[in-house]
Every structure is written in C-alpha cells, then in structure tokens.
Amino acid sequence: MREEALLFGKTKSLVGIITDPPDAKRSHGVPGIILLDAGIIHRVGPNRIHVKIARALAPMGFVVLRFDFSGIGDSKVRDDNLPFEESAVRETQEAMDYLSATRAIDRFHLLGISSGAIVSYKTAGRDPRVIGATLINPASYGDELRSYAKARRYWKNALSDPKRWAKALTGRANYQLIGPRLRTVFSSRRKALSVANHIAADFQSLIERRVDLRLVYSKGDLGLDCLDVILGNELRELSKRGTLKLEIIPQADHTCTLLESQQRLLTLVQNSALAMAHG
C-alpha cells in the first residue's frame, strides 16, 4: 500500500491523498473509490474513519482517493461565486478526471458521511462514470424536510407512548410545546413532501441506471426519518429486490464516535467492496 499527497483540479488547488494498492494487488476491474468530506471535517473524516476505510480497501485492490472540497481542510477557497452544492459536485468530477488520467480508472464508487453522502448521490445523478455510492447517514436534504421528519418522529413517538397519552388525558401535558410542534408538521408538510418527491425521483433514476446504491444509517439517526418520508413503503420493496441496500448500525451516533460502531461501519464497507470486487 502506498499513499501520495497531491494537488489536483483545474487550478491545482484541491488537496487529496491517494491510497494505492500494492502493485500485485491492483485489480483493474474494480471502480475507483472516492471519499467525500463530511461537513467541515477535512479529508481524514470524522474520527479519522476515512483513513481507516482507505487503508482497508487498498489492500483489497482498490485505488482510493480522499480529498478536501475547496475551502475545507487544506484546499484553497474558490475564487468564483459557485454555491457549495454545485462546486462540490464539480470538484468530485475533477477528482474522477484525475484518477482517469493518472490511474486509467473510468468507473467510480463514491462514499460520503452526512453532507458527503448528499454530494455523493448528487454527483452520481450527474455523472455516468459513477456506478455506485455508499451514503452514510445522509440527512442534510434541506431545512424543510429535516424539520418535517423531526416533527413527524416526535408525533410518532408521542402517539405510541402510553405515558404521554396519560399525561394528555389528565391535563398534565405541556400544551405550549405541543402546539408549535403540531403546527410544524402541518406548515412544513407540503414543502417537505415536494423536496422528498424530488429526491425520490433522483433515487429512482439512479436505480434505473443500475447504480449500486448502499444506504447506511446509525440506528435512530434523523436521516432514517428523512428516508422514510422520501421513499415510504417503496423502501421495503426496493430493499427486498436488492436494488437498494439498506444497513443499520446499532448503538451508533451520527458520525460513529464509538470505536465499536466505527468497526461495524468499516466491516460493512469492506463487505460492500468484496461484493463490488466479485461483480
């Protein structure tokens, strides 16, 4: 295994680390793996998990690139006016261009945690070179969908909790809190469902293109509630048909802080890679 630090992109200002497999292990049939920044955490990933993933996949024959979006980590701030949602997709494409030019790789699997997961699926939707994406706890789909999913979770939990029913029926409930939460559900519903429909359509087109979609969630993560709003009953069907793989990590927070949850995530990613390697 070999690691190389590099500057790439149109202005040679994106900083990345390539982890190459040992020459004897390099498998030419597998996609290149690109790991995308989670929020403002630089390319090592939350709790250094990107480094662990890269070093676990390279010995399996994969070339892995993890890099910083402009303005994050060591990469230079852009000098144009592109919004992050657009520049992140373009820069991921530049990362693919780099691997194509230097490693002769033309198919890619993107992996991202949280906001990195969102960039992964958006790039997959725009670029046919992306043949797979692992989305780990995607949740930043926009304020409307998040608030709606949050309020919906609150009501689901409340309605199935006998203690809360007892409180409500005996007049001990905090009605000042209930009112605004109820309003959130109704006021944000229309906008949230519209956003959810767009995302569902994006997922659908990726599925039709046979993009290998792997969704990984920490149990209890808000992203799961968002997914429920996006796909609803369709989720079970897609999952059953194997067109979308859903994995849940128990006892984990949003960024898999506990070492045990990091290990579970790593094992999941390695198993996915094994499946990719065997076509």
């Binding site: 690691e3 402009s70 980590g73 006892q251 802080t257 949850s261």
Partner: protein
Amino acid sequence: MPGAGIEPFYFGTDKKLLYGCYHAPQSRAPRDCGVVLCYPMAQEYIRSHRTYRQLSYHLSKFGFPVLRFDFYGCGDSEGNCDEGRIPQWLADVGSAIYEIKERHGSIKICLVGLRLGGTLAMMVAAERGDIDGIVLWDPVPSGTAYIEELATLHQERARHSLGKATHGTITESPTEILGFPLTGLMRADLQKIEVFSIRKKPANDILIIGSGEEAIQGRLKDHLKRLSARVECQHLPSPKIWIEKNKTVVPNEILKAVVSWISRVYP
C-alpha cells in the same frame, strides 16, 4: 487566499512517513525563522485543523515559512490510531524541524502548539536546547489531569448524544475517548507528562496564551522565567476550539496575537 502556496507532502523515514503541509513565505522579504506547528491529539486534532490552516496562512503572508504536520498514527500520517506514542511524537517534532531546515538552511525555529501540541513542543525544545521560540497555547500542564478531563468530556458527550449506546463502555480507565482509542501504553506515556518538572530552558523567547483559567498560565510563566526564558503571557478569553460546541470557531484574536508576537520577536 487560504490554501495558496502550499505543498502537501510526506516526509520522515520510510517506515514512518509523516504527512506535512508546507506553506512557503508569501511576502517579498522572507524571515529568518521557520515556524513548525504541532497539533494536539485525537479529536482535538480534528477540531483544530481549520484554525491551524488559517494560522499557517497568516504566518506565511507575513514572510514565515511554515510547516504543519500530523504525528505518527494521526491524521494523514502513517500508522494506526492505536500506535501513537509520546516518544514517537517527540521524535516526529524533530523530523519536522529537520525538514524545514532542509528547505531553508540554518534558520531560527519557532514551535507553536495548542494543548498537547504545546506541551510536546516544550518537551522537545527543552531536550534539544536549540529552539529559539515557542508559542504555548493553552498547553496541557499534566498528562494525568488531561486524561481525566478527556474522560469527563467523553462521558458528557456519551450522555447527551450517544445515549444508551455507551452502556458498558465508560469506566474509570476508558479505553476510548471521543472516537479514538486510548491504549494502556499511551495512558502510561501521558501520565508521565508534567510540565513543571521540566528543568531546562526550552527556548529564549516564549509566549503563553491562555484562553481560560489564568492561574495555570501564571504558574507556568513563573516556572519558565526561573529557567531564564523571556516569557510573555497573554490572557485572551476565547471559545475553546477543542470542545465539540466550538468546533467551527476560528479564534482570530488569538491567531492575530500569535502572528504579531512571532513577527515582533523575529523581525
């Protein structure tokens, strides 16, 4: 512009390569002093990365060559998280100093470190005796107290955001802290750290920056003065960037103070 004029690269020995990011001096009159930035450890490393990048950018703009690097087993450097050891990290600071001198010849060296990074900088400097200046930003005075502090933070985080997930993982001797392993060897290494037991002058000029409790900074200042160092102490109340809730903050007032002091001492 942040990120301009940087060179990411690996250095050190073949078996223990370290990731470094070199910032070339940006002004027309480069200074005769190289600055080596030493990161804190584990989660504090991740949370301080943005601030270190900004500090490097400002220092390079003022004409200083700057090298910031990841310790072995940390960040992009080789090694696993559970392979970090204090003696290795002290040697890593030496490798970084060698590296910047290779690029600039016999220049003066100023070490800058936040939290454990500051403490390690001081330990290396006291041992070598050839470091000109040090900036100690909220240094960790005692390794034992540091472990206790991290363990408390881990427990608080666990209680608030991890909930039941931590059942069975929190003990009086935690084996993991905020996403990173704490091995028995590392614990033993940390427990040996006690800055007030340093008996050699680490550098001629030392700046201590305290963003919190002043008493410790004052005691450290007295200790270093007794070792014949010229010490300046600045109390700059500021969010603790190594704490979860402040992780997006870049404390610009402190960065300005560091750049201003280094520029004054090494004109």
